[in-house]
Amino acid sequence: MTTLAADAPVAAPFEIVPRKALPIVALVLLGVVVAIARDARWGLVFCHVVGGGLWTAIDLFVGFIVGPILRGMSIPARIEFTKRLMPKMLVLMPTIVTMTLAAGFQLARQDGFLDTSNPRHAWVVTSFLVVGVMAVVALAYLGPANVAVLFELRKPQPDPRVVQKLMQRFVYTAGITGVMQVATLVIMTRLVS
C-alpha cells in the first residue's frame, strides 16, 4: 500500500484560470472600450500594434520554438511545463486577440478602409478572412483542448493518452496558424505602406 501510494503520480493542485490575472484582463478590456468610446487614435494604435505584435510573436514562438522543444522533453517535464504555461495562455491569448481585433476594426473604420470604395478595402476583407480561419482553429480546437488538458492534469492519475490526443491538435494546427500569422504580417504592413 505504501509502495503503491509512493509510486502513484501525485497531481499538485493548480488553478486552471489564474484568478490573479483577471483584474489585469479587466483593466486591459476597459482600456480598449475607453479608447473606442473616445475615438482616441493613440490608444487604438497602441492596443492594435502592441496586441497584434504580441499575438503574432507568441503564436509563432510557441508553435515553432516552444512546441518542438516540448516534444523533445521527458513526459514529467512536459506535464510540469504544460501545467505552468497553459493556464497563463488561457487568459493571455483571448485578451490579446480581443484587444487587437476591437482596436483594429475601429482603426479601419477611422481610416476609411471599411468603405467598399476604398482601394485598400480588399486587404481589410482579406485580413477578416485570415482572422476567421484563426478564430475557427483557436475557438473550436485549441481553446477546448487547452482547457481539457488542464482538467486532465488535475486528476490524481492523468491519462497520458488523453493528454497526447489533445496535444496533437496543437501540432496539427501549428502550420495553419504559422501561415495565417505570416499572412497577417504581409497584410498589415501592406495596409500601412
Partner: protein, 133 residues
C-alpha cells in the same frame, strides 16, 4: 485498469461546432465587408440559418449522450459563457458605436449570439468527454 476514454465513440460535436463557427465567421465577414453599406440580406440570413441549424444539431446530439459528465459540462460551459458574453458584449458595443442599424444589426447580433453559445458547448464537450461518470 479501466479502458481509456480516448477510445470512447461519441458524436462529431467538435466537427459540427467547427462548421458552425465557419458559418458564423463567414456571415460576419460577409456583412463586415459591406460596411458601412448593407450586405444583401438574403445571403446573410441563409448563412445565419445554416449556423443555427448546425448548433441546434450539436445541442441535440450532446443531449442524447448517455453516461456523460453533465456536472463538468455545465461547470465549463457556464464559465465559458460568462467569458464569451463579455467578448460578445464588446463586439456588440462596437457594432452599435459604429452606427450599425436595422436588419444588419439584427443579423450581426444573432450571429454574435450563435458565436457566444457555440464556444462554451465546444469547450465543455471536449472537457466532459474525458471525465469518468
Amino acid at each position: 485498469m479501466s479502458e481509456s476514454l480516448v477510445d470512447r465513440k461519441l458524436p462529431p460535436v467538435t466537427e459540427i461546432g467547427a462548421a458552425a463557427m465557419v458559418a458564423v465567421a463567414a456571415g460576419v465577414i460577409f456583412n463586415a465587408a459591406y460596411l458601412p453599406k448593407h450586405a444583401p440580406t438574403s445571403v446573410a440570413i441563409a448563412i445565419l440559418i445554416v449556423a443555427a441549424a448546425l448548433e441546434a444539431t450539436n445541442l441535440f446530439l450532446v443531449s442524447r449522450i448517455r453516461d456523460f459528465a453533465w456536472d463538468r459540462f455545465k461547470q465549463v460551459a457556464g464559465w465559458f459563457l460568462v467569458a464569451y458574453a463579455v467578448i460578445a458584449g464588446m463586439i456588440e458595443y462596437a457594432f452599435i458605436y459604429d452606427d450599425t442599424r436595422g436588419m444588419q444589426l439584427v443579423i450581426l447580433t444573432l450571429m454574435l449570439l450563435l458565436f457566444m453559445l457555440n464556444v462554451p458547448v465546444l469547450a465543455a464537450f471536449t472537457v466532459a468527454r474525458y471525465e469518468r461518470v
